[in-house]
């Protein structure tokens, strides 16, 4: 938590109930976004991407960065993007366009 330069980690400060099987989160532990891995495993998109697309914004594009033939790799080749705190050399998987 302390070392993350992106505020991408959260500590669970209270008791939680009713956790889902795919997300066994609990008090006293640290969590972060999993890109909805349980949905991706079933060939679906992360919930935020799906919601953004459904609202007609098309602001988020999700894909496999290692797939050179995929839409994500193609768009990254066409559009100039930025990674947050690229000066730290952590090479995060999220790229931003139009900051």
């Amino acid at each position: 938590m302390m070392a993350c330069p992106y505020k991408a980690r959260s500590f669970i400060h209270i008791n939680l109930t009713g956790q889902r099987t795919h997300s066994p989160r609990g008090k006293g532990t640290v969590e972060s976004c999993t890109f909805c891995v349980h949905r991706v495993d079933r060939d679906r998109e992360p919930a935020c991407v799906e919601a953004c697309t459904a609202a007609g914004h098309q602001a988020l594009l999700f894909g496999d960065l290692s797939d050179n033939e995929g839409e994500l790799a193609q768009r990254l080749g066409e559009v100039q993007t930025q990674q947050l705190r690229s000066d730290l050399g952590t090479n995060p998987g999220v790229h931003y366009h139009g900051l």
């Binding site: 938590m1 993350c4 505020k7 500590f11 209270i14 008791n15 008090k27 006293g28 532990t29 705190r85």
Partner: protein
């Protein structure tokens, strides 16, 4: 065991101290239990301020522990036989203070039961993993040093253990400083100078805590501290305080000159509300300048002055660590360098932090635990020198 010239602390007053300290330790355990059951929501800590007041106390005690070994190192490594009679007291204080600090650290983890993961699974790219070895190794090495010096071990063995302990305590404090020094995400940390600053701070805090412990424990046993030892340790304390001040000045001025961390430095020194007050009034005024006056003023070089100066240095050290640890976290992360950021996720906003009673109880309980361990050790082991000064080779064997 070679106990010539040493004695255990008297029974008189022991149980009174225990009666005062044990409830403080129980309160700390109760506080940890509350955090464990209700969650850290009952503390002032949040996602931005991850390390709160308990961590300030934990780092404070760890630095005190490392520095409390100074008299033992002066005796064994630097050949100052004047400090030989108090060397074993120095080693015991060091271990007890470290245990007190580690207790606070462990009880504030949120899930202390998960400590087993930290003990069994090591990520050697993490400085925290190195520090696990640093802390446990320190206890073992100083323990061996004490055993050698108390158990008629050959002079060479005592010297070797003393040298290893000295090198280890420098590494240990460097490791603690490096936790902050290489933490590039937070602008308030991320400076290599924090490593020597932590080493120097440990020298100052350790000498101050040892002086307080020495004076009080000798008075407890009805003895008067050797004025020469007190004066010399007092002078050393003054030098360490000056070195800390110098390093803080260098760090501050280079940050202001270089410009990269100017924002966070201006925040901590001028515009940050409680943090500039703690820095100027607590760390610089009460914790550095006033003790220097007490230590250098001709008319006030007695035991009371040195004791007062030591207490002030400890207060200043707490303020210093609060400003560094908490102030360094409340200042917003620079996630978008070169941009002005605002969002519904507190980007660019100074975080709030106010310690709750639970955190105070846990932190103070760690100090109480350290003092309690010191008292039990002095009551059960022959640690207190019968008289000071002792001529080398007469009443006590020079380790």
């Amino acid at each position: 065991m070679n106990n010539t010239g040493y004695h255990v602390a008297p029974a008189q007053g022991f149980w009174l101290f225990v009666l005062i300290l044990v409830p403080m330790v129980i309160a700390a355990l109760w506080s940890a239990h509350q955090m464990d059951t209700a969650g850290h929501a009952i503390t002032g800590m949040n996602n931005q301020v991850v390390w709160g007041l308990p961590h300030v106390f934990a780092v404070f005690l760890i630095l005190c522990a490392s520095g409390a070994l100074n008299p033992a190192s002066l005796s064994t490594v630097f050949g100052r036989t004047r400090y030989a009679p108090i060397a074993r007291l120095s080693g015991v204080f060091a271990i007890c203070l470290l245990v007190g600090g580690l207790v606070v650290l462990v009880l504030d983890l949120g899930r202390p039961d998960r400590l087993q993961v930290a003990i069994t699974t090591y990520n050697f790219r993490s400085i925290f993993a190195w520090n696990v070895f640093g802390y446990t190794g320190f206890i073992v090495i100083v323990g061996v040093y004490l055993a050698c010096s108390m158990d008629n071990a050959p002079r060479g063995a005592v010297k070797t253990a003393g040298y290893v302990a000295f090198a280890w305590r420098i590494l240990l404090t460097s490791g603690t400083g490096a936790i902050f020094g290489v933490l590039v995400a937070r602008e308030g940390y991320d400076a290599a100078i924090l490593v020597p600053l932590f080493v120097a701070t440990s020298f100052a805090l350790g000498t101050a805590s040892f002086l307080i412990g020495l004076v009080l424990s000798l008075r407890w046993s009805g003895q008067v501290p050797d004025p020469e030892v007190l004066t010399k340790l007092g002078r050393l304390l003054a030098i360490f305080v000056l070195v800390v001040l110098c390093l803080v000045a260098v760090q501050t001025l280079t940050s202001l000159y270089g410009g990269r961390e100017r924002g966070v430095v201006e925040f901590l020194l001028f515009s940050g509300g409680v943090y500039p007050v703690l820095f100027w009034l607590g760390q610089v005024g009460l914790g550095s300048i006033l003790p220097l006056i007490f230590l250098y003023a001709r008319r006030s070089r007695g035991c009371a002055s040195i004791l007062t100066a030591s207490v002030l240095v400890m207060v200043g050290g707490l303020c210093q660590l609060y400003v560094l640890i908490i102030g360094g976290q409340v200042y917003p992360l620079r996630i978008f360098p070169g941009y002005r950021s605002s969002s519904s996720f507190f980007d660019g906003v100074v975080a709030d932090y106010a310690p709750t009673l639970w955190e105070v109880l846990l932190g103070v309980g760690g100090v109480a635990m350290a003092v309690l361990l010191c008292l039990v050790a002095m009551r059960t082991l022959p640690l207190l020198p019968r008289a000071l000064p002792l001529k080398p080779g007469t009443l006590v064997r020079d380790p």
